[in-house]
C-alpha cells in the first residue's frame, strides 16, 4: 500500500464528490494508517506484526434525505475508484426509502488545511531488540506501536482538510513479583534510544517504592493527590454523558444540574477544547473546522457546550465544529498554583494516586463516578511515602472531586497522547495537571 495516502485521499474524494448530481451534496472523511505493533509480556514478544488499512466514510444529502456509509479501501487505485462509485450508486438507490431527516445539516464550510508531521521511527526488524533490550531484567509488559496515521475530510461545499503524523508509542508497565507495578509510556515522533533509556531508568527507580508490604486501607474519606495520568481516566467523563449540547437537552448529560445552577464546581476548575495541542486535527467528519480554542468550563461554570451542526439545526443554537457524537477533543485543563514537587507535602497524610482503572457512572444525574486505584498508588504520612496501598474502589461525585473537595491544582501540566487502538490507531490527547482532593470516598 502506498505511503502517499494524500494522493489516494484526493482521488477518492474526487470520485465520491465528482459523482454527485446537482441536487446532491456530500461529505467524506478518510482514515488510513501503516502500523507496526509488538505486544510483549514478561519482557518477551507475545504477538507482533504490521497492519495497513484505509477506509472512507461518505455522507450524502439529497432533498430531505440523509445517508452515510463506510467503505474499506483496498489501496489499489482502480479497484477503489470502482468501489466508491458503486457505493454512491447503492446509496442513491436506498435514499428514497428513508424518512425525511428533520434536522438535516449539510456542511457549508469550505475551508482547507494541510498539516503533516514526519517522524523518525524504528526499522521494523529492530523493534524487538531496541524496545525490549533496555528493559532487560524487568517483568516488562505492554505494547509498542508505530507508523503513519492519516485523517482527511472534504465536502461538496469545497472544504479540503488533511492531517498526517508519524508517531511511536511504548505503552508499558513494569511488575514486581508481589504483583505491584509502575505504569509509564514513551511517545513521540523522533525515537531516541537515550530518551527511552532514561524513561526505563525512571521506571526502575519508581519500582523501589513498591517492594515493601502493601497497606490495606479501610473504606472512608482520604486526602488524595490525583496525578495527570490518573486524571486522564476522569477526563473521559467530560465527553461520555458530558458537555455535548444534545445530551444536556435530552437528559443524558451528567451536567444538567451544573447548567441549571443546582450544582457547581470549584472556581479552580476549568478546561477547554484546545487544538493548539497539535495532537489531532480540528476538522470533523463533515469537513467543518472547530475553533482553535473553546472554553467549556471556566471558573467552575459551563462557558460553552460542544455543538454539532445537526444539534444546532434542531435547537437553533450556533454550531462549533463538533462531531456528531459531540465529544470534547484535545482537552486542556487549567493549571493551578501547586508545585508538583510539593504534592506529597500537600497531601500530608493520604493517598498518592498514580492511576485509576475502569471508571463508570454510579449515578449520572449526580455526576457520581466509581472506579479503582491501580498500579503504583502510595500511602503518604506527614508528606513522606510509606508504601503501596492495596487497590481500593472509590465512588465520588465529580461535583465533589472537582467542586467543594478540590483543594489545589498543579502548576505543571502533562500532555498525554491517545493510546487507544480500537479499529485504528487513534489521534488526540489531553494536557492535564494533577489535583489535590480533600476527602475522596474509598468504598471497598
Amino acid at each position: 500500500m502506498t505511503k502517499d495516502f494524500k494522493k489516494r485521499f484526493d482521488a477518492v474524494a474526487a470520485r465520491a464528490l465528482g459523482e454527485l448530481l446537482p441536487d446532491e451534496r456530500g461529505a467524506i472523511s478518510y482514515s488510513a494508517e501503516l502500523s507496526a505493533f509488538m505486544r510483549f509480556n514478561g519482557g518477551k514478544v507475545r504477538q507482533s506484526g504490521s497492519v495497513e488499512q484505509a477506509d472512507l466514510s461518505i455522507k450524502l444529502w439529497k432533498g430531505a434525505k440523509t445517508y452515510s456509509f463506510m467503505l474499506a479501501l483496498s489501496g489499489d487505485e482502480g479497484e477503489d475508484d470502482e468501489r466508491v462509485a458503486e457505493a454512491v450508486g447503492r446509496a442513491r438507490a436506498l435514499m428514497p426509502l428513508l424518512p425525511d431527516d428533520p434536522y438535516q445539516a449539510a456542511p457549508e464550510a469550505a475551508g482547507s488545511s494541510d498539516a503533516r508531521y514526519s517522524g523518525t521511527l524504528l526499522p521494523e526488524a529492530e523493534i524487538p531488540a531496541r524496545v525490549l533490550g533496555p528493559a532487560a531484567g524487568l517483568d516488562f509488559t505492554g505494547i509498542y506501536s508505530q507508523g503513519l496515521v492519516c485523517r482527511g475530510a472534504a465536502n461538496s461545499a469545497g472544504a479540503r482538510h488533511w492531517f498526517q503524523t508519524e508517531t511511536f508509542l511504548v505503552d508499558y508497565s513494569a511488575w514486581l513479583p508481589n504483583g505491584r507495578a509502575v505504569k509509564s509510556s514513551y511517545a513521540g515522533r523522533e525515537w531516541s534510544d537515550a530518551e527511552y533509556a532514561k524513561r526505563i531508568a525512571a521506571t526502575k527507580r519508581s519500582l523501589e517504592n513498591l517492594g515493601v508490604e502493601q497497606i490495606a486501607l479501610e473504606p472512608g474519606k482520604y486526602r488524595a493527590f490525583i496525578t495527570a495520568d490518573a486524571l486522564a481516566e476522569v477526563v473521559t467523563f467530560f465527553s461520555w454523558n458530558g458537555f455535548g449540547e444534545r445530551g444536556l437537552r435530552q437528559g443524558e448529560s451528567a451536567y444538567i444540574a451544573l447548567r441549571e445552577g443546582r450544582e457547581s464546581m470549584s472556581p479552580r476548575f476549568g478546561f477547554s477544547q484546545d487544538f493548539s495541542l497539535g495532537v489531532e486535527p480540528a476538522f470533523n467528519d463533515d469537513g467543518e473546522l472547530a475553533p482553535e480554542r473553546l472554553e467549556i468550563v471556566s471558573g467552575g461554570a459551563i462557558a460553552n457546550t460542544v455543538v454539532c451542526s445537526r444539534t444546532a439545526k434542531q435547537y437553533g443554537v450556533p454550531a462549533n465544529g463538533a462531531g456528531e457524537d459531540e465529544s470534547v477533543r484535545s482537552i486542556s485543563m487549567d493549571a493551578g498554583d501547586l508545585a508538583e514537587a510539593d504534592a506529597l507535602k500537600a497531601i500530608g497524610t493520604g493517598v498518592y494516586v498514580s492511576n485509576f482503572h475502569y471508571l463508570n457512572w454510579s449515578d449520572v444525574q449526580a455526576a457520581r463516578v466509581t472506579g479503582m486505584t491501580r498500579f503504583a498508588c502510595l500511602w503518604v504520612e506527614n508528606g513522606e511515602i510509606v508504601g503501596p496501598i492495596k487497590d481500593m474502589r472509590w465512588d465520588e461525585s465529580l461535583y465533589n472531586m472537582l467542586g467543594a473537595k478540590l483543594e489545589a491544582v498543579t502548576k505543571e501540566r502533562h500532555l498525554l497522547v491517545a493510546s487507544e487502538t480500537y479499529e485504528r490507531r487513534q489521534v488526540g490527547g489531553s494536557l492535564l495537571p494533577g489535583i489535590l482532593v480533600d476527602g475522596l470516598s474509598f468504598t471497598l
Binding site: G49, S74, A87, Y172, Q250, G251, L444
Partner: protein, 481 residues
C-alpha cells in the same frame, strides 16, 4: 471465494518461503444501522469492510501482516512483512510454538436463520418511528430512541497444513430507550441495556409485536421510576434478572477465567486475574448451585460459531461444575503456554487484529427454583433489572455494578419500585453467596457486542445466557451525590 483465497495462500507462501507454516484469515463485514429519535429519522448508516491477515510461523514465532489489498501481490507483501516481524522476534517470544496450535480443521458454519429476506429500510423506519411513539408513555418522556442494527461476518481460514474454515455469522440487534424527567429527577430506561438485545439469526429477530410491547413497558417504567424512592443502602439478598446476570457473568467469571489474562498478557491494559493456573481443577469459585459453561453451539446466541479464528473446532465445555473451577477460557496457544485445559476461543475483532483469548458464549446453567418460590423465600431483598453501569478492578475482584430498575422484596413479596439501584462486592465471595438459581422458565440469552480487550485494542461480540439468580448478603445502595 475458496479459489480466490487458495490462490492468495499460494502467493503468501511463495513470499515467505522460509516460514514453517503460513495461514490466511479473511474477514468480510457488512452492516446496516437504522435509528429513530423522538419519532423521527435520526441516522441511517451502511458499512462494508474486507481484508486479510497473513500469519507466518518462523523458528517457533508467529507474526502477522494484515492488508485490505486482496490481490496476490498485496497478500505477498503482507506475508513478507510478517516474515520480517517473525524473524525479528524469533528467540525472544513468550513461547516456542509449532503448527499444532493451528489445526488443519475443515468446517463450515452458517447462522441458522428462519427469515433470510431483508425488510426494506422504509419498513424498518416505519416500525422504529412507531416504537418511539410507544416509548413516549407520557409528557414526562423527554427523549425516545429506537435502533436496529443488522450485519454479517464472513470468515475464511486456510493454511499450508490444510485448514479450511468457512463461516457466515448473521446477527441483529435492537435497542429501545426512553428518558423521563420530573423536576430535578431524570431517569433512563432501556430494553435489556445498551445493545443487550443482540443475537444471531435472521429477520425473524425483527419481532415487531414483541418489541412494541417492550417499548410500551420501557416508556411506562421510565415514568414510574420518576416517582420511586432511591434504592436503600444496606446488606440484603439480591435477585438479578438475566439482563443483569449477563454482565455479572461477563465481568466476574468470564474475564478472570481467560488464560491470557492469567498468564499476564493483559496486565498493562485490561488487567490480570485473581485466578491462578493452580486453581484450575480445585478452586471453589462459587456455591454448589453454580454451573458455568462455554457453549458456542447454542443457536441464536451471539457468539456461536463452528471454529475459532485459529481453526480450533468449537465444542461445549463446562468450566465451573457445582461451584468448582474445572476448566478455563484458553485457546490452543494459551493451553500450550500454560499446560491447562481450555476451549476454542482465540478470536479477533476483524482481519486487522490478531486473535486472542475471548469468552464466546458463557452461560449459567438453569437450576430448579421457580421465580415465585425464589421471591417467596426472601425476607429482605431487592430485585434488580437491566445493567446500566459496570466497573471492576484489574484482577476482577472488587466490582460495582448498577441497574436501571429495582423492586424491593419484603417478607416474600415484590413490593415497591426503587430507582438508581447499585451493588458492590468481591467476585468469589459474591458467587459463593449464590443461594438460588432459577429454573428454565426464567432463562434468557443476551449478547454484548462491545467487549473491549487486547493490545492493540479489540472490541468483540460475546453472548451470555442465564436464569434469574439470588445472592445472599450483598451490599446495595442508591444514587445521589
Amino acid at each position: 471465494m475458496q479459489n480466490d483465497i487458495r490462490r492468495l495462500l499460494d502467493a503468501a507462501a511463495s513470499a515467505a518461503k522460509e516460514a514453517a507454516w503460513v495461514g490466511l484469515r479473511r474477514r468480510r463485514t457488512s452492516a446496516s444501522y437504522y435509528m429513530a429519535r423522538d419519532g423521527a429519522f435520526d441516522q441511517a448508516i451502511g458499512g462494508l469492510d474486507d481484508g486479510v491477515m497473513v500469519e507466518v510461523l518462523y523458528d517457533g514465532q508467529f507474526a502477522y501482516g494484515a492488508t485490505p489489498d486482496l490481490s496476490p501481490e498485496g497478500v505477498a507483501r503482507a506475508a513478507a512483512s510478517a516474515l520480517v516481524a517473525a524473524k525479528a522476534a524469533a528467540g525472544k517470544g513468550v513461547h516456542r510454538f509449532d503448527a499444532s496450535v493451528r489445526p488443519a480443521t475443515r468446517v463450515s458454519y452458517r447462522t441458522p436463520r428462519a427469515r433470510k429476506a431483508p425488510i426494506a429500510p422504509d419498513g424498518v423506519f416505519s416500525f422504529l418511528i412507531d416504537v418511539c411513539d410507544a416509548l413516549k408513555a407520557g409528557d414526562e418522556i423527554i427523549q425516545t430512541v429506537s435502533m436496529v442494527e443488522i450485519g454479517r461476518y464472513d470468515y475464511e481460514i486456510v493454511s499450508t497444513n490444510g485448514a479450511d474454515v468457512e463461516q457466515s455469522l448473521h446477527y441483529m440487534g435492537t435497542s429501545l430507550q426512553a428518558v423521563a424527567r420530573r423536576g430535578d429527577v431524570v431517569q433512563l430506561r432501556t430494553a435489556n441495556g445498551p445493545r443487550g438485545l443482540t443475537r444471531q439469526g435472521g429477520w425473524e429477530l425483527f419481532d415487531a409485536a414483541g418489541l412494541m410491547a417492550d417499548a410500551r413497558r420501557v416508556g411506562a417504567e421510565a415514568i414510574e421510576l420518576l416517582g420511586a424512592e432511591t434504592c436503600p443502602s444496606d446488606r440484603r439478598t439480591l435477585v438479578l434478572t438475566p439482563d443483569q446476570m449477563m454482565l455479572q457473568i461477563h465481568e466476574s467469571v468470564g474475564h478472570p477465567l481467560e488464560i491470557d489474562r492469567i498468564l499476564g498478557d493483559e496486565r498493562n491494559y485490561a488487567g490480570g486475574s485473581f485466578v491462578k493456573l493452580s486453581d484450575i481443577g480445585g478452586f471453589q469459585y462459587g456455591s454448589k448451585l453454580m454451573n458455568i459453561s462455554y457453549d458456542p453451539t447454542v443457536p441464536g446466541e451471539l457468539a456461536s460459531y463452528g471454529a475459532d479464528e485459529i481453526g480450533n473446532l468449537a465444542e461445549k465445555r463446562l468450566l465451573i461444575e457445582n461451584g468448582t473451577l474445572v476448566r478455563a477460557l484458553g485457546s490452543l496457544e494459551s493451553q500450550a503456554r500454560s499446560g491447562v485445559p481450555g476451549v476454542a476461543n482465540q478470536r479477533a475483532s476483524s482481519w486487522n487484529r490478531p486473535p486472542i483469548d475471548r469468552m464466546a458464549n458463557l452461560n449459567l446453567e438453569p437450576g430448579e427454583t421457580s421465580l415465585d418460590s425464589m421471591i417467596a423465600s426472601i425476607e429482605k431483598g431487592v430485585l434488580m433489572r437491566t445493567n446500566r453501569s459496570w466497573s471492576i478492578d484489574d484482577y476482577r475482584n472488587k466490582f460495582q455494578f448498577g441497574c436501571e430498575y429495582g423492586t424491593l422484596i419484603e417478607d416474600g413479596k415484590l413490593t415497591r419500585t426503587v430507582r438508581d439501584p447499585n451493588y458492590r462486592g468481591v467476585s468469589s465471595t459474591f458467587w459463593r453467596n449464590l443461594c438460588a438459581v432459577g429454573d428454565a422458565s426464567t432463562f434468557a440469552a443476551f449478547g454484548t457486542p462491545n467487549c473491549g480487550k487486547g493490545e492493540p485494542n479489540q472490541v468483540m461480540f460475546v453472548g451470555h445466557a442465564s436464569p434469574v439468580c439470588a445472592f445472599a448478603d450483598v451490599e446495595v445502595f442508591g444514587g445521589g451525590k
